[in-house]
Symmetry: C2
Subunit: 456 residues, 2 copies
């Protein structure tokens, strides 16, 4: 029984938070090459912690990209084996000037811990570490068999872990995966995520003249790659948010009536979401779908930035030779990244204006997924959450992408339990990302009780 471990977690709450801060101070940004050393440093810190708490076969696996961290503890014969997943890399912190306190100096304010990676995903990785530490230190053993696989390139496509899972299913043999990288639907509402959107991230490069030209001399005759990009982007998505790529929606699976009914009963107010969370004058998107349907069960397309041209202060009268847009699409079951990318690329070629050439590059992709809720691991999770939070669990989807869930399903043939403790306003990928500190501690307790349930 894990009440001793829960007690240990409570006694050590302050140190546990300090350990998280130590990890948050390492700027392990995986998306830009200059932080490669920091990502390595974060991997080594995680590996050292796994050793310290008593996990076995701890290994930092180098291969392509950033390292994986593996560990196991397999001394509970007859009990299930969980594969614990989280990631120790983070998004870039820019725009830096919008952070109230620096992104890699974790700071407590109003019951929250502010730092890049606080909730996505270092806080949730440390949740797992601390649940295992409490159980091992207090009980001297774990109630079930545990494998741990942490990655350092989730934010940049996770190719290393995908290849590892594909090539070494034997080394990861487990009964289910525990993914700690999601959020509660609302504060105080225990939540399991059972659906994810997939993703296709691309670069769309447009070239006009062979060199930058003076816009006075050549304006009116030379193709402008920014104008061409604008025409292409405006041709990809209409003003109602409908994607115009032929065949794009063909494989979209409608949510079941039960799901739609459950979603309608969730505590969600579109007007409050618009005002408080998004802060825009109006929400956008496809007509005839609720916001929840639009973000969970419909594909979409976004532009993240456009590289090239003059972006300094003041004025430069140039027709740039090229411009490159970062464009991504989110996919839903049963779409596939391969088919969607092909449709997109073909359509861009078709609608590009005259005078320019386009180069459409795939940067990374991930499969969408939906998890069945009738397996024993999901059931044990809901029981644990009920004990700790005192409420029934809600099942939601996420508009985000965790491609590893699809890889685990495909190569290990195991389902995932996505139990996360972020909050909707935690600011993933944005300035002033935070983790609500009480959720950090209750998350540790939830995992201890969950593991204990499975060991019964």
């Amino acid at each position: 029984m894990s009440s001793a471990a829960v007690g240990y977690a409570k006694e050590n709450a302050s140190r546990f938070l300090d350990d998280l801060k130590t990890l948050l101070r390492i700027p392990s940004v995986s998306t830009t090459p200059e932080h490669k050393g920091d990502v390595e440093k974060a991997a080594n810190w995680v590996a050292a912690e796994l050793k310290r708490i008593g996990m076995e076969h701890v290994d930092v696996l180098h291969g392509m990209g950033h390292p994986l961290v593996y560990a196991d503890w397999l001394h509970a014969p007859g009990k299930p084996t969980v594969l614990c997943y989280a990631h120790y890399d983070v998004q870039p912190p820019d725009p830096l000037d919008e952070w109230v306190t620096p992104p890699f100096e974790p700071t407590e304010r109003n019951g929250n811990l502010y730092a890049r990676g606080a909730v996505d995903d270092k806080g949730q990785l440390v949740l797992q570490l601390k649940a295992l530490e409490a159980l091992l230190k207090k009980d001297g053993k774990l109630p079930l068999n545990v494998r741990v696989l942490y990655e350092g390139e989730e934010e940049v496509g996770g190719e290393h872990i995908a290849a590892f899972v594909r090539e070494h299913p034997d080394r990861l043999k487990s009964d289910f995966a525990l993914i700690s990288d999601t959020e509660l639907f609302a504060p105080e509402l225990p939540t399991l995520t059972v659906g994810l959107r997939g993703m296709v991230y691309t670069e769309l490069e447009v070239r006009g003249a062979k060199t930058d030209l003076h816009s006075g001399m050549y304006g009116g005759a030379a193709p402008n790659p920014f104008v061409a990009l604008a025409q292409i982007i405006a041709g990809l998505k209409d003003r109602d948010g409908k994607i115009l790529i032929p065949g794009f929606y063909d494989d979209v699976r409608k949510p079941s009536d039960d799901e739609l009914k459950a979603w309608r009963s969730l505590p969600f107010d579109e007007e409050e979401y618009r005002e408080k969370e998004v802060g825009a004058s109006k929400l956008v998107g496809e007509k005839g779908y609720t916001v929840i349907e639009r973000t969970w069960a419909r594909p979409t397309l976004d532009v993240h930035g456009i590289v090239g041209g003059f972006i300094g202060a003041g004025a430069k009268t140039v027709i740039p030779a090229k411009a490159t847009a970062k464009v991504s699409m989110r996919l839903v079951p049963d779409m596939t990244p391969e088919k969607s990318f092909r449709q997109y690329k073909d359509y861009v070629e078709k609608i590009k204006p005259e005078g320019v050439t386009v180069d459409v590059r795939l940067i990374h992709s991930g499969e969408p997924s939906v998890i069945r809720t009738d397996n024993p691991y999901v059931k044990a999770a809901t029981q644990a959450l009920k004990k700790v939070w005192g409420k029934d669990t809600v099942f939601i989807r996420s508009g985000g992408s965790i491609p590893i869930v699809g890889d685990f399903e495909k190569h290990l043939k195991i389902p995932s339990v996505m139990m996360g403790f972020g909050l909707p306003d935690d600011g993933l990928h944005a300035p002033n990302e935070k983790f609500h500190i009480p959720n950090f501690h209750r998350g540790i307790e939830s995992l201890i009780v969950f593991f204990d349930e499975l060991g019964k």
Copy 2:
């Protein structure tokens, strides 16, 4: 008679070029605040040269923005007074990695001098200095009265000189202006520019959500400022280059039949221009107009860059809170910057998609202008060019903007002679900007002979 001065210029050709190189080494980029000191340094170098060659009342005038440099020599009673204009500031050198040799280390290659500002406009400013030097040093006097007014913020809108001209017409009293900031229509073809496009340079800022958002969580519901900007830009200009702003073309004056006939006789091959100068697969622009008409006598709209979002290497899945496009329009007679900007701003507000707010800012502007060719200064210029180049002068317009020409006309009531010696492939505003060295020397000779003609 100026043959002595011409001889002096030939004897000193090598030193004259060295002096130009000295000025080119000063990175007097006026468009970005970090080069303020360099712009000042260039102004001081120019003032020192004016003193050295014997000009009087040399003054570096501080006021708004970057300094003006003034000088005069007014000891030719009964002779006309010329107001010599050029600018000593330059465009930013980016993209730096496309320069064969560094932009501020002037380098001779294939008979050309490569450097930022080589042709625009330091080379042409030094032309004037050297013509005056040759005349003053050899003849001990000038054949006409001369005022000099050089500015250091032409590339950023020239507000200081515009205000100075408006407020001190008495201090600049002259019969005509000599503008050295244009080019030959073709190598070996003496050219006077008699028309310029005006310009309205703007920033178009689009804001969606109050903060950057995760494109997984919010994609499909949160407005994307880049997509909104694309829709607005695509709405401003159609695929045939026609500007869709209501009323935009209302005040466009058609070129005269004589002008159109003269333009048709110019040595210009659209296919060669497309391939050699622009290097694009196809030229763009309004149907029914030649390239010369499209760039000289029709207004246009270009996008120079879009600020905001993620532009690093790799991927970041963000819906940025805002995006700002740098958009400019070139105007032709009889359009006015005030009216065109108002039409543009109103139309942007009208076509912006739902969910975003827009802020349209005017960065700078300039009037379009057309010069009459039947004045004595233009006549003397064509005579001088005939003597030096052995050919009849062609009259062209330029697609670029030199707002000071309009200011001289409006406040000093004087016409401008735009006599410049750049070549069409000199790469204004682009990497590897150059000045053809024989044109530098023949330009000096042309000005000596021109001044002498006027002093007869």
